[in-house]
Amino acid sequence: MEIMVLDTVGLKCPQPVMKIAVLSPDMQSGDLLEVVGDCPTFERDVRVWCGRLNKTLLSVREEGGYTKRIQIQF
C-alpha cells in the first residue's frame, strides 16, 4: 500500500495538523499518511485530530529531539 508522506518539520503547531486537514479530503478511506514533525506538541495535536475526525493513529516513532514520525490511517 502506498504511503503518503507529509513533512512538517520546522512548522510550528498547529500548522502540521492544519496541513493534515488540508490533505484529508483527498484521502480515500484506507489510505495511509505519514507525517513528520518536530513541534513539541506535534504528537498531541495529531492524536487530538485523529480522535476528533475519527481517523486511526497507527504509530508514533521518535527520531530524536522533538522530531517524530506518525502514521495515520484514513
Binding site: 510550528k12 503547531c13 498547529p14 500548522q15 495538523v17 492544519m18 493534515i20 486537514a21 488540508v22 484529508s24 479530503p25 513541534c39 513539541p40 506538541t41 495535536d45 487530538v48 485530530w49 476528533r52 475526525l53 522533538y66
Partner: protein, 839 residues
C-alpha cells in the same frame, strides 16, 4: 575671620522642621537631615558638593570645623568602605544566584520558543528580582500555553469544520459539525455550519419537493393537455401554432406535423381569425360555427374559445385556444329547433285552445286559439292568474266556475268540466266551451304545472240542438209517413176515379163542376199527404242542378197567387247554382208564403232576397265551412215572440187557429235533407225573416227542356202490379183510356209469373207498372230483379206512395225506366208514359 552666618538667616529660612533651624546650629554642613534647597539632605558626603558651594560653609568653616568636618568625612568614608566591602560580597553571591536563575529562565524561554508551551522554571531563588523574573516567566509560559491551547483548539476546530464542509460539499448533508468547543468562535462556527446545513437541507428538501411538485404539475398539465377531451392549441404573436394536443389533431382530421408551426394567417377558412387575434390583444375570443380545415378536407362545426397566454410578468406571450367539434350538437340543436317548431306549429294548429299554467296558477302559455278565444295575447297573459285570463261561468246559474287549475292540482288527475260553461272573453263576448285540465309532469313524474284544453262548442251545441230537434221531427215523421202512405193509396183511388168520371161527364156541366171541386179537394189532400211524407222518413230529395235565382222568383210568384201580399225581389244575377228537389222546394216556398200571408192578414209586402254566402269557422252558423246560397223571406207582420223561436219549426205548432202546424216543420225537414239550414229572425212588431241557407252546387245547371204535352196515348200491353185493389182498378181504367191493354197482379211474385207466361206464349208485356211496397208480399224492386234475370230488356215503372224510397229518387240505378209518385192524375200518368225511352 569673617563673621559666621546663620544659614537660616542667610537663606531667610524659617523651616521649623529643619534640625539646624531648630537647633540653631551654625555648622549646618555637619548636620544630616537639613532642609536645604527645599530638600531634606543626608549626611555631609551626600551633600558635600552642595555644601562646598554654599556660602554658609565658606563663611563659617574654620580649622576646627574643618578638622571636625574631615573627621566626619573619615567616619563616613570608613563606613562607606565597610559597606562597600559588604556590598561587594553580597553582590558576588547575588550574581551567582542570578546567573543560575537566569540560566534556567533562559532555558525555559528557549523551550517556550521552540514551541513547548509546558516549559516552566522552578522558583527557588533568593533573589527577589530573580523570583520575580521566574514568576513572570512562568506566568508568561502559562499565557503562552493558554494561547497555544487556544490556537490548537482553533486549529483543530477549523480542521474539523473544514472536514465537515468538505463532506457537505461532497453531498453528505447528514454530517454534523461539532458545536462543543472551548473556542467560542469554533463553537459558533459549528452551530452556524449546522444551521446552514439544516437550512440547506431544508432548502434542498423544499427544492426537491418543489421540483417534485413541479414535475407532478407538469405531468398533470401534460396529461390534461394531451388527454383533454377538447382540442387545445397554443400559438405565438405571429399566429403560428406552437403546440397542440391529439384531440385538436383529431378534430381537424390532420397530423401534428402539419399543424405545428402552421401560420394561421394562411388558413383557408379565415372566420376564426378575429377570435385568435382578440386573444393576442388581451381579451377572450369566441367563434362558433362551420369551419373548413386547411390541412385536411374536413368541413365541420366547431366551438372555439381563445384567451391570452400571460407570463409571470403579466405580458402576453401568445394565445391559447380550446376547440370542440359540435357538428353533432349542432345537428341535435337543429333537430331540437325543428322539433320545437313542429311542436309550436302543432300547438298553433290545434283547433282547441290550450293554456298552460305553473303550480301557482299563473299563465305560462297560450296558443293562438286560446288567444283568440280569451282575447288575451300571450305576452299580456304571461304571469297573470288564470282567473284573470280565463273567466268561466256556469251557463245556467252565471256563477263563476271553480278554477280548473286548482281542481287538477288538488286531485293530480285530469279534470273535465261537466256543467255547461261559458267563457267570457276579455271584450265580454260569451262562448260555450267544453274544457278539461290535466297535470303537466316532468320526467320524474313530479307535477310542474297544469294544461287546460278547451273548445268552443257553441256551434256544436247548436248543431246538437238542431239534431235533437231533427230527431224529434223524425220520430213524429215515421208515424205520419205510415198514415200518409195509406192515405195516398186511397187518394189514388179517389183522384183516379174523379179523373175518369170527368172524362165520362164531359157533357154534364154540373156533374163536371162538382167533380172539379172534388178534384181540388183531393189535390189539397194530396198536398197534405205530400207534406206528411216529406216530413216523415221519406222525402229524399230528387235533386237537379238549377239556378235558385230563376226558380225562387217564379215559385214565389206562383205561391203568391190569390194572396193579398205583394212580392219584392232582390235577386242578383250571379247567384251560385244549387242542387235541389224543385218539387219539395215548391212546398217550402209555398209554406213560407202561407206563413207570411198569415202574419199580414190585411196584406203587405213580402221581401224575398238571394245572395251568395261563404261560411267560415267561428261564424256561429251550424253549417260546415263552404259556399252557400241564402234566400230570405221578410214580412212586415207582428213578429214572433222570442219564447216561440225554438218552437216555430216543431210539427203541429201553430198560433193560427186554422193552420195545420206542419208547414214550417215540413220546410225545416226539406231544407235539412238538402244539407241546409233554415233560421228565423224576428222582433215583435217588426216582422219576421226566414232565412234559408243551402249548399251551392259545384255543377253547371242544365238548359231547361220544354214540358211535354199532356195525355200521350199509346198502345201495347201493360202489366199493373199493386196490392191495393182500388189502385189496380183505377190505374187499369186510366191505362185503358190511354189505349193500352192491361193485365193485373196483386204482388211481385204473381207479376213475375204472369210476365214469364206471357213471354213464353209470345204475348209479351211492353211495360210493367209495379208498386214498390207490397204488404206481406214481394215488392216491385225484387220482382224486377227476377224479371231482369229472365228478360234483361224488361221495361218497368216504379210506383209508390213513399216518395222517400231510394228507388224513387234513383230509379234508373235499380233498373226501372220511370217513376210515378202516388197519387197521380191521368195527365201525370200519360206524361210519365210519354217520357219513357223507346225500347
Amino acid at each position: 575671620m569673617a563673621e559666621r552666618i546663620q544659614c537660616w538667616e542667610f537663606f531667610s529660612c524659617r523651616e521649623e522642621s529643619c534640625p539646624v533651624y531648630v537647633g540653631r546650629e551654625i555648622n549646618c554642613w555637619l548636620v544630616s537631615g537639613t532642609h536645604c534647597r527645599e530638600q531634606i539632605q543626608g549626611r555631609f558626603l551626600e551633600k558635600m558638593e552642595m555644601c562646598l558651594e554654599c556660602p554658609v560653609l565658606d563663611r563659617n568653616i574654620d580649622l576646627v570645623q574643618l578638622r571636625e568636618t574631615l573627621h566626619l568625612v573619615g567616619l563616613q568614608f570608613r563606613g562607606i568602605t565597610r559597606a562597600l566591602r559588604d556590598r561587594d560580597r553580597e553582590l558576588k553571591g547575588t550574581n551567582a544566584g542570578l546567573a543560575d536563575g537566569l540560566s534556567r529562565s533562559f532555558e525555559m524561554v528557549r523551550k517556550l520558543c521552540l514551541g513547548d508551551p509546558t516549559a516552566r522554571v522552578k522558583i527557588d531563588s533568593s533573589n527577589e528580582m530573580l523570583v520575580k523574573l521566574e514568576g513572570a516567566l512562568n506566568q508568561m509560559g502559562e499565557s503562552v500555553q493558554e494561547m497555544v491551547d487556544q490556537s490548537h483548539e482553533l486549529a483543530m476546530g477549523l480542521c474539523q469544520h473544514y472536514d465537515t464542509l468538505n463532506q457537505i460539499a461532497g453531498g453528505n448533508l447528514s454530517v454534523t459539525a461539532h458545536e462543543d468547543s472551548a473556542n467560542e468562535l469554533i463553537a459558533k462556527l459549528g452551530q452556524l455550519i449546522n444551521k446552514e446545513t439544516r437550512t440547506m437541507v431544508g432548502v434542498i428538501s423544499d427544492y426537491r419537493q418543489a421540483e417534485s411538485d413541479l414535475q407532478e404539475k407538469e405531468e398533470r398539465y401534460r396529461l390534461l393537455f394531451e388527454q383533454s377531451p377538447v382540442g387545445v392549441f397554443h400559438y405565438d404573436h405571429q399566429l403560428r401554432i406552437t403546440d397542440c394536443n391529439d384531440r385538436f389533431v383529431d378534430i381537424l382530421r390532420s397530423s401534428r406535423e402539419q399543424l405545428l408551426n402552421l401560420d394561421m394567417n394562411t388558413l383557408k377558412d379565415q372566420r376564426v381569425l378575429p377570435a385568435l387575434k382578440e386573444a393576442l390583444a388581451g381579451g377572450p375570443g369566441f367563434y362558433e360555427g362551420p369551419y373548413s380545415a386547411t390541412t385536411s378536407p374536413a368541413a365541420i362545426s366547431i366551438s372555439m374559445q381563445t384567451a391570452p397566454l400571460l407570463g409571470r410578468e403579466g405580458r402576453t406571450r401568445g394565445g391559447m385556444g380550446i376547440v370542440e367539434e359540435i357538428s353533432e350538437r349542432k345537428k341535435a340543436e337543429e333537430d331540437l329547433a325543428a322539433e320545437k317548431e313542429r311542436l309550436a306549429v302543432t300547438l298553433r294548429s290545434i283547433g282547441d285552445g290550450v293554456i298552460t299554467t305553473d303550480m301557482g296558477g299563473r299563465v305560462v302559455l297560450l296558443n293562438q286559439v286560446a288567444e283568440s278565444q280569451t282575447g288575451w295575447r300571450q305576452e299580456e297573459a304571461f304571469g297573470r292568474t288564470l282567473q284573470e285570463v280565463f273567466c268561466i261561468v256556469d251557463e245556467k246559474t252565471r256563477d263563476r266556475c271553480q278554477n280548473p287549475v286548482e281542481k287538477v292540482i288538488l286531485s293530480g288527475k285530469t279534470e273535465i268540466l261537466t256543467a255547461p260553461t261559458l267563457l267570457v272573453r276579455r271584450d265580454g263576448q260569451e262562448r260555450t266551451i267544453a274544457d278539461s285540465g290535466a297535470p303537466i309532469r316532468d320526467k320524474d313524474g313530479k307535477m310542474i304545472g297544469v294544461v287546460l284544453v278547451f273548445r268552443d262548442i257553441t256551434d256544436q251545441q247548436r248543431l246538437s240542438e238542431e239534431l235533437l230537434k231533427y230527431e224529434k221531427l223524425k220520430s213524429i215523421g215515421v208515424l205520419a209517413g205510415g198514415i200518409a202512405h195509406d192515405f195516398n193509396n186511397i187518394l189514388t183511388g179517389i183522384m183516379g176515379n174523379i179523373s175518369l168520371a170527368k172524362m165520362f161527364a164531359q157533357d154534364a156541366e154540373k156533374v163536371r163542376k162538382r167533380l172539379d171541386e172534388a178534384e181540388k179537394a183531393s189535390y189539397l189532400a194530396r198536398e197534405l199527404t205530400q207534406q206528411l211524407l216529406t216530413f216523415s222518413r221519406g222525402g229524399a230529395p230528387v235533386k237537379t242542378t238549377a239556378s235558385m235565382a230563376e226558380y225562387v222568383q217564379e215559385a214565389v210568384t206562383f205561391a203568391l197567387r190569390g194572396s193579398k201580399l205583394k212580392g219584392e225581389f232582390s235577386i242578383p244575377d250571379d247567384t251560385w247554382p244549387v242542387d235541389f228537389d224543385q218539387g219539395q222546394f215548391q212546398q217550402v216556398i209555398h209554406n213560407l208564403v202561407i206563413n207570411a200571408d198569415q202574419a199580414m192578414p190585411e196584406g203587405g209586402i213580402l221581401r224575398v232576397g238571394l245572395g251568395n254566402k261563404t261560411i267560415t269557422a267561428g261564424e256561429g252558423i251550424a253549417l260546415p265551412e263552404g259556399r252557400y246560397v241564402q234566400i230570405w223571406f221578410t214580412d212586415q207582420g207582428v213578429g214572433i215572440p222570442r219564447e216561440n223561436f225554438s218552437k216555430v219549426f216543431d210539427p203541429f205548432f201553430t198560433t193560427k187557429p186554422r193552420a195545420s202546424g206542419l208547414g214550417l216543420a215540413t220546410a225545416y225537414s226539406i231544407i235539412k235533407r238538402h244539407d241546409g239550414l233554415i233560421t228565423v229572425e224576428s222582433k215583435p212588431g217588426q216582422g219576421t225573416t226566414f232565412r234559408l241557407t243551402l249548399p251551392a252546387s259545384g255543377k253547371i245547371p242544365p238548359v231547361q227542356e220544354e214540358a211535354p204535352s199532356p195525355l200521350v196515348r199509346g198502345h201495347g200491353r201493360i202489366l199493373v202490379m199493386d196490392d191495393e185493389a182500388i189502385v189496380r182498378e183505377v190505374l187499369g181504367e186510366m191505362l185503358t183510356r190511354l189505349g193500352f191493354e192491361v193485365a193485373y197482379a196483386h204482388d211481385g211474385a204473381e207479376a213475375v209469373k204472369i210476365y214469364r207466361v206471357a213471354k213464353k206464349i209470345d204475348q209479351p208485356f211492353d211495360l210493367l207498372i209495379m208498386d214498390l211496397t207490397v204488404a206481406g208480399g214481394m215488392g216491385g224492386l225484387e220482382a224486377l230483379q227476377q224479371l231482369l234475370e229472365f228478360d234483361p230488356k224488361v221495361r218497368a215503372i216504379a210506383s209508390s206512395g213513399y216518395s222517400s224510397d231510394p228507388v224513387m229518387s234513383d230509379f234508373q240505378a235499380h233498373g226501372f225506366k220511370g217513376v210515378m209518385a202516388k197519387p197521380y192524375t191521368l195527365e201525370e200518368l200519360s206524361l210519365v208514359l210519354g217520357s219513357l225511352p223507346n225500347p
